[in-house]
Symmetry: C3
Subunit: 271 residues, 3 copies
């Protein structure tokens, strides 16, 4: 898919400013992923400055991984400001389904109408669909590919947004079209569950692409970029510490041609 | 000690959910260490969700490294909920003795009766014993092996818990039995003081073992696992940045047989 | 410059306690940089303990990268306590100019009179000088070497402190003398903008040197140490993930002789 490589090149040319209100565990991880890719992250959460930063930003990432009431307040302000100003927002509903606070906060942020893309795992998106019992802590319960695809379409329709359900195969839908991103090598599958914040990293990459692409393609590009970089990293380093380091290297080294050639993206068109 | 290897295998089979209320400096570090070992971390501190998460968790890690009043409130709720529900808790009294806030908070959490294991350095456990002047910032003052062993026994008796005093030799006691974990190579001793959060990492590993072992053995297993992995990592990478990366690799690569064979654990029986 | 190497050796001998009130993104990064260098970091922000920690510390680092009102309150208390007790403080005005909260907070902290060194990029120091529009998020707008040098002198005079404007060439001034630190290889210039927290890391290193040197030299030494270590790291690892890891290795491996020999420091004397 040639547009994937062009999207990556546009990120590198434009160097979009991505404002992240995210969780404490991954602030460093996602800032480094955005820098390695070629975007310019700002990490900030004070309600006193959130509107100025949304106004300056090209895209906004909201991640509910370590909530407290002050963060929720800033997130609401950020999504409302982004909607007002027409800035794209990607939401990561980390742990939706695991606690009422998280499910409620994710649904409330979605209800504001400014979210362009939601990226979650199977359990989290199930919780947004009103199904419970599919989240164990912040990890997804048993992944069901057929149901994941349906979930992406259903939740996208319900909230009028793009939804990415990531797992072994990732499904992305705007409620009509569906893209699937196929898994890479078994080396990457072994190690990928052993590093924290990789889902959050995908969400941040989607944020960078939202500055240069429409939401459906931005979500596919963020996921595909991560998967191709992760596959290269796992080939060089099959253990989690070293793999994590090489992942930043490959987000930086990846060029548009390689991304277009190696991304395993399947488009299913309208349904 | 064959039980060490079996405990590691049980962690990998059960993949316990470990709820961490921990400090900002090490959230990423300890989440990655738990994932590399084979456990499933959740990092969360909001008082609004802490009880739900304790209920879902197999073990709870409480670490006072960067306190503020909201965190203290959540920690108290977590320990109380864990006691109510019979979930094991490991407490890391980071910086006890360095400030009154930290000493007071650690003692208050201990007084709630739900703490299964305390893991601290010499200065921190001295502070819990009512002795002052042995903490310099968050580092222990001069380590005294004979006194460290006594401290483990005394503080364990006083609070009715398991106490691990970590340092060159680590001492673990339930107030009757004592285990010592002997130091590894000089390579690891040179580098180990040059990476932040390694004590916190040991505490988190103890949390994972608390899901599959009784507290005394869980504490010994967490310490021994760290020491064997660190020794391998330091052999491959004698400098702090690279050593830190390899440490996650070896927490993942370590198998039960290797752990049992290379752990330098001495049991002193009842005293 | 022989004094550079001697300063590094004094840091290693004294192992100064450096108290950091810093942003969430770089807490781990700067703690590890200080440990690798040979200093002893404490990361803490509770207003309840800040004065005790300033009293125990040899130097204080204040970094406004992820502000909220509780952090601002602790920072004010820390700078006031440091002034009272004669402890040196280095201030990193991250994102000054990007939001009113940040500009106002940085200027307020400077007005308290206890800041020994300010380290910022071109846009941030421009904002302290009352010029706007030179900060894009937390990154500096187009760097202007001649203006950077003037800015260091002007802002140093205005606030009676040492000011370091870092960029391709770094300028450090106490309002009379000026030091320039020249750039390293092109390898390091390519990768250095692709890792988060490196400016914050320089600030933290200046904190360590403030414990053993007067402010002008401490600022030069912190910058020069970073640059020499970064150049070595980039030679070994030209991509951002691996470079970041090697940077800690080289902060640890660097010796006084190497630092003195390879630092590209030019002193311009009084002006």
């Amino acid at each position: 898919m040639e547009w994937l490589g062009r999207a990556l090149e546009r990120v590198r040319e434009r160097r979009p400013l991505v404002h992240n209100i995210t969780n404490f565990v991954v602030m460093n991880t996602t800032a480094n992923a955005l820098l390695a890719l070629g975007a310019s992250p700002i990490m900030a959460h004070s309600p006193e400055e959130v509107e100025e930063l949304v106004a300056a930003a090209d895209a906004v990432v909201v991640n509910i991984g370590t909530l407290d009431s002050a963060f929720v307040y800033s997130m609401v302000k950020a999504v409302a400001a982004a909607r007002e100003l027409g800035k794209p927002v990607v939401l990561d509903p980390v742990g939706a389904g695991a606690t009422r606070l998280r499910t409620r906060t994710a649904l409330h942020l979605l209800s504001l109408g400014g979210v362009s893309v939601v990226r979650g795992n199977f359990g989290e998106v199930s919780a947004l669909a009103g199904e419970s019992g599919r989240t164990k802590g912040v990890e997804a319960a048993a992944y069901d590919a057929a149901r994941a695809r349906e979930l992406a379409v259903e939740v996208a329709r319900r909230f009028g947004t793009v939804v990415a359900v990531t797992g072994r195969v990732d499904y992305v839908s705007n409620g009509r079209e569906v893209y699937a991103v196929e898994p890479g090598s078994s080396a990457v599958e072994r190690v990928i569950g052993r590093v924290t914040g990789l889902g959050c990293m995908v969400t941040a990459l989607i944020g960078a692409y939202l500055a240069v692409e429409e939401p459906l393609r931005a979500a596919v590009a963020g996921i595909a970029t991560f998967k191709v970089a992760a596959e290269r990293a796992a080939e060089e380093a099959p253990y989690p510490g070293s793999f994590h380091v090489k992942l930043y290297d490959w987000l930086y080294r990846l060029d548009g041609g390689t991304l277009s050639r190696y991304a395993r993206v399947v488009a299913y068109g309208a349904r």
